[in-house]
Symmetry: C2
Subunit: 337 residues, 2 copies
């Protein structure tokens, strides 16, 4: 069965998704008898449009020169094309704007308003307007999925179905790979924050403006999504009490180490409170993950702690989470039988 897809954003995540859709075309046909037909790829200044399906190999091969393709329509916008194209699922992968959530927020609202199921790897709209989007999806009888927004490929949201009878009491997580990398390097190398940050930037793990990562706002946004999804809360990012890691000194880390502890930047949801803050954890705790991994520990009523660990970032990692969401929707819509 053909399922028409609109991809919004051709950055690292969008391009990785195109690559995987291409690689896995046969796998999807064989395993699920489904064919995802990308009929539009939207960028900030126009769109690639082919109602019969874009040749994804051509798009990959031409790399950054995709605007030269004959089916590039300058200034075309998502909001303009939905009435002309038959779109079953829209995939929103534009960069997160932490203040407004735009343009992702408008894209998702427009999709839902037009009865188009939506998948988002952009977390801004979710941590800013979770309740509004959830209600809008329900009102329009649409699916809105966003596994990639938290810990990328790690199924921090999808695991909910597998734990459906469990009462999840609290969440303790490491949700930002950059700040975890910095703390890990400070711990193992004894270097100070500034040096570790510089290293992270040189390796491409940290942005030139690392504020969102090291000051905890990125983790706070993800924590909001986790808590709303897994604990059934209705929080916004402004409800999170946030403290970054820039004040953590080598000396503090050394002191902790002497007594068998390490310092981690934890995102915690418990007792109706959301907190992102540097905290001591025991060296032997499974949460003591190194490098740019992400981890989530769920405290459950009858099953104790359950932990999930994996890569928290990366184009292919996010694209793989998006694909899981696509299959999830396709199963429930009956595109897959």
């Amino acid at each position: 069965m053909n399922v028409n897809i609109c991809l919004i954003g051709k950055g690292i995540v969008g391009t990785s998704l195109i690559q995987i859709l291409l690689n896995k075309k046969e796998f999807f046909e064989r395993k699920f008898n489904i064919n995802f037909v990308v009929n539009s790829i939207i960028e900030i200044d126009g769109a690639l449009i082919n109602s019969q399906g874009i040749d994804l190999k051509e798009v990959i091969d031409i790399k950054e020169n995709f605007r030269r393709l004959p089916y590039w329509e300058k200034d075309a916008k998502f909001e303009d094309i939905t009435s002309k194209l038959n779109i079953a699922i829209c995939i929103e992968t534009t960069p997160t704007n932490p203040k407004t959530g735009e343009p992702g927020l408008s894209h998702i609202i427009h999709a839902l308003d037009n009865k188009i199921d939506a998948v988002s790897s952009n977390k801004g709209p979710l941590y800013l307007e979770y309740e509004k989007l959830r209600k809008l999806a329900k009102l329009n009888n649409c699916y809105l999925k966003y596994e990639a927004t938290v810990a990328s490929c790690v199924p921090t949201l999808g695991i909910k179905e597998a734990l459906i009878a469990n009462e999840i009491i609290s969440i303790k997580a490491i949700l930002n790979g950059t700040s975890n990398f910095i703390l890990s390097r400070m711990t193992t190398e004894g270097i100070n924050f500034d040096l570790a940050l510089k290293e992270a930037q040189e390796l491409g793990y940290a942005e030139s403006d690392p504020t969102l990562d090291v000051e905890g706002y990125d983790a706070a946004g993800k924590l909001v999504i986790l808590a709303n999804e897994l604990l059934g809360w209705s929080k916004k990012i402004t409800d999170v009490q946030v403290e970054g890691i820039s004040k953590v000194s080598s000396h503090t880390i050394e002191l902790a180490n002497t007594d068998g502890y390490v310092i981690k930047h934890l995102a915690i949801a418990e007792n109706n409170k959301l907190i992102v803050t540097p905290r001591l954890i025991e060296k032997h705790s499974p949460l003591n993950i190194s490098g740019n991994l992400n981890a989530m520990e769920l405290q459950t009523k009858y099953a104790g702690p359950i932990l999930l660990i994996g890569r928290g970032a990366g184009g292919f990692e996010a694209a793989s989470a998006i694909l899981n969401d696509l299959i999830y929707i396709s199963k429930r819509r009956g595109y897959i039988t």
Copy 2:
């Protein structure tokens, strides 16, 4: 909605399940509008039967004296009562017989033959007759779920749905809490295998006959189930190459330690092979879990490694996995709307 349940086995897992069903009665009614009515509890020498639903509180309160209850029917068997009682789901929790899988295997076959959905915490039937049971369930259009058989409450099987578009390439896991506890103690305390085993037995982690645990057969059985479920294989326990941990010496552990490694009893599924064996892993590997935890690392094509960690045993832990299976079936059967 009322859903009639037959519970087979009133051991630690069965009793924990009764306790949780009692505790969560209101929660299930409120959250899912479902009422699990246990109309039969089967033991080796008879059964508690009440077609209107057994008073679970009474069963818990009377503890080991349940055979004195007026609705105890001596010598009643599961196979005899299915025609008389309306049973939607049967829950098999008898102890694992690693050679024959009985009586669990016959219970599950009888349930499926009679169009009764089945949930099992007994792994023997699954690792001995996986293909047969899978086909029988399909033939009878029944659900057969067994989350509790591998790593207890940790959703090692249920995570499949959350990773449905991922290509899982290989599995590396620690699936036996007893052997992991013994290796952990040998590592941290520098004691030898015999002493660590004795300690595990005194703490109740190891059986008086620890062969199944320390020689790797328990882990091998679980590995078969994991590989068949997550990789789509059709293996039996006889396909597993097994080596236990009883030959691991303190000296070996010391040597490994010097170079930053620890020895873990790994269950590995890759390249169409199943292996349970002691292996070196890096100290900083997230698989370096201590105590009686279980862990599973899935290697995926686009998302790298994804890890799940949690308690691998315990009555309430297994019961919580059974409950998730119950809800899974109830959703798909439309008992939950």
